[in-house]
């Protein structure tokens, strides 16, 4: 599957914010609709009261309708927006008083008040109409009263409520959006914490995650732990395997080499001796190559997951000198260490040791007999380890490419070595944020400086 990586947090936030927006809009619409109904109802109630009070004031006297309109009948229709008021009083279909245009033909006694919104005098009005039978002789009189009112105040009230609902809706939305951000951040925090605790681990730390996690994350963490267990098992196996393989290969090589040496001491014929020498050199070269390949793989692995500690460069170098002194002596070479007190740094000691050993190894290989190899450790201006010899030096034209993998100097022909030594030293320097400097000395001989 391809595509841009998507964010759980963004999706959660957007879903929550989207939900809040829908709710806010819904809230606004519901409040508006409800307010419209309420406002309309309250206008209708007042209109109904007005109509009723008008009808209540009507009496039939001597066959004539007398309607002593109560002041309150219209006074109660006073509104903040000074809405206009219209009315019509009719007996049957005969218009008696008020606004003629409001009168209606289809009077229907007995029914409750009828409300309608209609156009009148060029504006929208709400009309309440009520018809009543007034007792009279010889027969009852049908009296219809209509009262109408413009809707300015209603519109004003609705506008105010709409604005308030919109403000509340917006405030609710903002609050919900803020909470959505907080919620998504806090929900996903355990995920980040687990990721951080795993990222903080050292390269060799393959323990399972045991911190308590939310229920939803436990399958993920369980899978992770199972993977860690298998990985740990597999790493242990391969380490054992590599050690075992080395053992299996190196032991027969040692057997062959010993036999070859012994045979070489016994034979006199030149061509036989030549063949045996080649055999011994081949064994040495393959053994050294295997060693350097293992070294290089180890350096690469440890550089990727650098684990530093406080170490003293002088201590590391003096151990190397102790170890290699017998080899140097065999070649009548002097191996010296020079320093002014300890040089503490934060570094991976195994990597440093490997780099220096490879540099000294190179110096031993390319030194002329009865020369001297000097290791100098300095603290200032920055920690450096310098290895100098009195050999043939690096070939001037290939200085830059020397530390590339498997590059060997042109003038190194005939000397056993895989060419990985300088690469290892360079990788180690760079893993510690430093560099490897190669140059030739004026008095002759090579100089390799490990800057850390």
């Amino acid at each position: 599957m391809t595509g841009r990586p998507w964010s759980l947090r963004r999706r959660l936030t957007l879903t929550l914010i989207g939900g809040a927006a829908v709710l806010a809009i819904l809230f606004y619409l519901v409040v508006r609709t409800y307010a419209q109904q309420i406002a309309q109802q309250s206008q209708d109630r007042i209109l109904e009261a007005s109509v009723t009070s008008l009808l209540d004031a009507a009496v039939v006297r001597d066959g004539q309708i007398e309607l002593d309109v109560p002041y309150a009948a219209f006074s109660m229709l006073d509104t903040a927006a000074d809405d206009r008021v219209f009315y019509a009083i009719q007996q049957g279909n005969e218009f008696l008083s008020g606004y003629d245009g409001l009168a209606l033909d289809d009077a229907d006694p007995g029914a409750g008040p009828i409300f309608a919104t209609r156009a009148f005098q060029g504006t929208q009005v709400r009309v309440a109409r009520l018809t009543r039978n007034l007792p009279a002789s010889p027969r009852p009189v049908l009296l219809t009263v209509s009262v109408a009112q413009t809707r300015d105040s209603l519109a004003g009230t609705l506008w105010t409520i709409s604005v308030n609902a919109a403000v509340f809706g917006a405030a609710f939305f903002l609050l919900a959006a803020g909470m959505a951000l907080w919620t998504s951040a806090s929900t996903l925090r355990p995920l980040g914490q687990i990721a951080a605790s795993v990222a903080r681990r050292g390269p060799g730390d393959l323990r399972p995650v045991i911190r308590p996690v939310p229920l939803e994350l436990s399958p993920l963490v369980a899978s992770f732990n199972s993977l860690m267990t298998r990985l740990s098992h597999s790493l242990t196996q391969s380490e054992t395997f590599i050690a075992e393989a080395a053992h299996r290969v190196r032991t027969p090589l040692a057997t062959v080499r010993s036999h070859a040496e012994a045979t070489l001491m016994r034979v006199d014929k030149d061509e036989n001796r030549q063949a045996l020498r080649s055999m011994i050199r081949a064994i040495d070269e393959s053994s050294r190559a295997a060693g350097q390949l293992l070294d290089h793989a180890m350096v690469t692995f440890r550089s990727d997951q650098l684990e530093t500690q406080d170490v003293d460069l002088v201590t590391i170098c003096s151990e190397i000198v102790d170890r290699l002194t017998p080899v140097a002596e065999m070649m009548d070479l002097e191996l010296g260490l020079q320093s002014d007190g300890p040089v503490p740094v934060r570094a991976d000691p195994i990597l440093i040791q490997n780099a220096v050993r490879n540099l000294v190894d190179n110096a031993l290989k390319y030194s002329a007999a009865e020369g001297a190899i000097q290791i100098t450790v300095t603290a200032r201006p920055s920690p450096t380890i310098t290895v100098t010899d009195q050999g043939i030096g690096f070939p001037q034209t290939e200085m830059a490419s020397l530390s590339q993998r498997f590059q060997r100097g042109d003038n190194a022909k005939g000397t056993v070595g895989s060419g990985l030594g300088l690469t290892i030293a360079k990788d180690v320097a760079e893993a510690h944020g430093g560099r490897l400097e190669l140059r030739n000395m004026e008095a002759g001989g090579a100089c390799a400086i490990l800057h850390l």
């Binding site: 040692a254 010993s258 012994a262 017998p326 009548d332 005939g414």
Partner: protein
């Protein structure tokens, strides 16, 4: 310097090859295939040096080292390992090994390390090789003639040791080059003449001489 070694190594072929090679140099080497066998040898005999393999059928060589040091046995131990240098280094030196060698190894290097171990332990050899008025301490690398002492360089020492261990034997130039320069193809046989010349100068006051046998090689003569 002729020495008595105990080799504890489960691979019999390697052990046979090593023993063969050692005897050519005049050393005595007993072979034990297991740790318990090695312990038996140690109980009955005295050895100058133990060569110890790490992976053995009846246990880890490191456990043997621990016991060996706990019994206050001070016979030096050089560990032979097939693993990479780094991983075993700390453990073995901490457990009391005097040095270690990665297989396969050059016998000259084994000799050099043995000499270094012994030098650290005693400072000089129990057996000084004497020929005429010349006496060679191979551990201290000192040649004594009468009252004068000469400190020899490593290749001079190894060359003289060869001659003094086999007086009257003719060594060809080719064989000497192989011994001194670890089978290096770039070194010519003439290089050996420089070292022979130096030895002759050192031996001048003594009764011992190195004679040249054209076409055959060199021989040490006493008197």
């Amino acid at each position: 310097m002729r020495m008595k070694y105990l080799l504890i190594e489960d691979n019999t072929e390697l052990a046979a090859a090593l023993c063969d090679r050692m005897r050519l140099d005049g050393h005595v080497m007993d072979h034990a295939a297991t740790l318990s066998e090695g312990a038996d040898f140690l109980r009955v005999g005295e050895y100058d040096l133990i060569l110890l393999d790490i992976m053995l059928p009846d246990g880890d060589g490191r456990r043997f080292l621990e016991r060996h040091r706990a019994q206050a046995n001070d016979t030096p131990v050089i560990v032979l390992t097939a693993r990479s240098e780094v991983s075993d280094r700390v453990g073995m030196l901490d457990l009391g090994a005097d040095d270690y060698l990665t297989k396969p190894f050059d016998h000259a290097e084994l000799q050099a390390r043995c000499r270094a171990v012994l030098r650290r332990r005693t400072g000089s050899a129990q057996t000084v090789i004497r020929r005429g008025t010349a006496a060679l301490d191979p551990v201290a690398s000192v040649l004594t003639i009468g009252d004068t002492e000469v400190t020899l360089r490593n290749r001079e020492l190894r060359l003289l040791e060869l001659f003094m261990n086999a007086p009257g034997q003719i060594f060809s130039k080719g064989k000497l080059v192989d011994r001194l320069f670890s089978y290096d193809d770039t070194v010519t046989e003439n290089a050996i003449e420089v070292y022979v010349g130096r030895l002759r100068k050192h031996l001048e006051p003594s009764s011992v001489t190195i004679s040249t046998h054209r076409g055959l090689g060199y021989r040490l003569d006493d008197g």
